[in-house]
Symmetry: C2
Subunit: 167 residues, 2 copies
DNA sequence: TATTGTTATACTCTATAACTATA
DNA sequence: TATAGTTATAGAGTATAACAATA
């Protein structure tokens, strides 16, 4: 490892820098060589880009993911869904409340075990998901361009590996 | 700060799957090929790993980053700091309040322009940063192992590129 | 007793707008 | 007028603990 120790995270404009007595370029020190830090910054940028592409459709990446998961796993329970997206079941309650209220998801008790709900997409939910899909695909296309076709598979493989690791 | 959280996309245990009538493995559909999705999942996993390593020291990645930035740029103003970490100045106010209250950061008006604060680390702040550094390095070492030495530079380069893109 | 899902509660992170004090 | 920082406020996202209904 060869820490560069210095990098421009963001240039401060010359005027304000002079005014502040602060250097033109901010020194991010050891962070510059840290995977975790850049993972965080990349995710923030990606999230913001996603939000720009999806403006008009009110659906955060998390909710969109919930919709996709319900679509692909019709009848899934809330607890199973919460496990899949890595959040607590109590976190999911208001999310599903709003998705049901907006008519995108149906929630019915199972016949076998009346403690569980069966989650399914309504037709409206499928439509919204499809519309969202298009926006998300444009966003993905931009990411693809940034990553480049040559390194795409490797990059994805590493991301999957990081996500799968629980140590 | 004690985020528990489970594995994203993890397998549902056989028993509960049978009980739920849900497949053993959750189908994530189109998400599986999406960079943005896996970026998000990797970041969540990395964050949780960071939290586990840093348990005992109450410092989120964001606050740790603020500390590092102040350490490397002593005398930086709050607005410059907020620009560097990409959040609003009002977001930073309570963060700095708590860092100052905990004796980790000093905040003094500049002599030239009495609207600005000069942020600096106190000795206690430097100590905490050093302790944090050790935890964070262990965390980084794990990430390094996952990524592998061969692909590390390329992976970092792509992350930087994504973070730098504002389209 | 154990599990599903809800409720009550709380904390973090984030932002916008209006404000103050200084320039 | 413009800038640095605070305050008021709000909303998303997250969690834990206690609870009701059901198993």
């Amino acid at each position: 490892m060869t820490p560069r120790q210095t990098a421009a995270l963001k240039k401060v404009d010359a005027d304000s820098a002079a005014r502040d007595g602060v250097n033109d370029v901010i020194d991010i020190g050891m962070l510059d060589d840290w995977i975790g830090f850049h993972l965080r910054m990349a995710q923030i940028a990606s999230f913001q880009s996603f939000a720009r592409h999806a403006q008009g459709i009110e659906l955060s990446p998390g909710r969109f993911a919930a919709l996709v998961l319900i679509d692909r796993n019709p009848g899934i329970s809330q607890t199973a869904l919460s496990r899949a997206i890595g959040s607590d079941k109590s976190t999911l309650t208001p999310v599903l409340d709003s998705l049901v209220k907006r008519g995108l998801v149906s929630r019915e008790r199972t016949h076998n075990d009346r403690r569980l709900y069966e989650l399914k997409l309504t037709d409206a939910g499928k439509n919204v998901m499809r519309a969202m899909h298009e926006h998300a695909q444009q966003h993905e296309k931009n990411l693809d361009t940034i990553v480049g076709p040559k390194d795409r598979a490797l990059f994805l493989k590493i991301l999957r590996k990081i996500a799968a690791t629980r140590e």
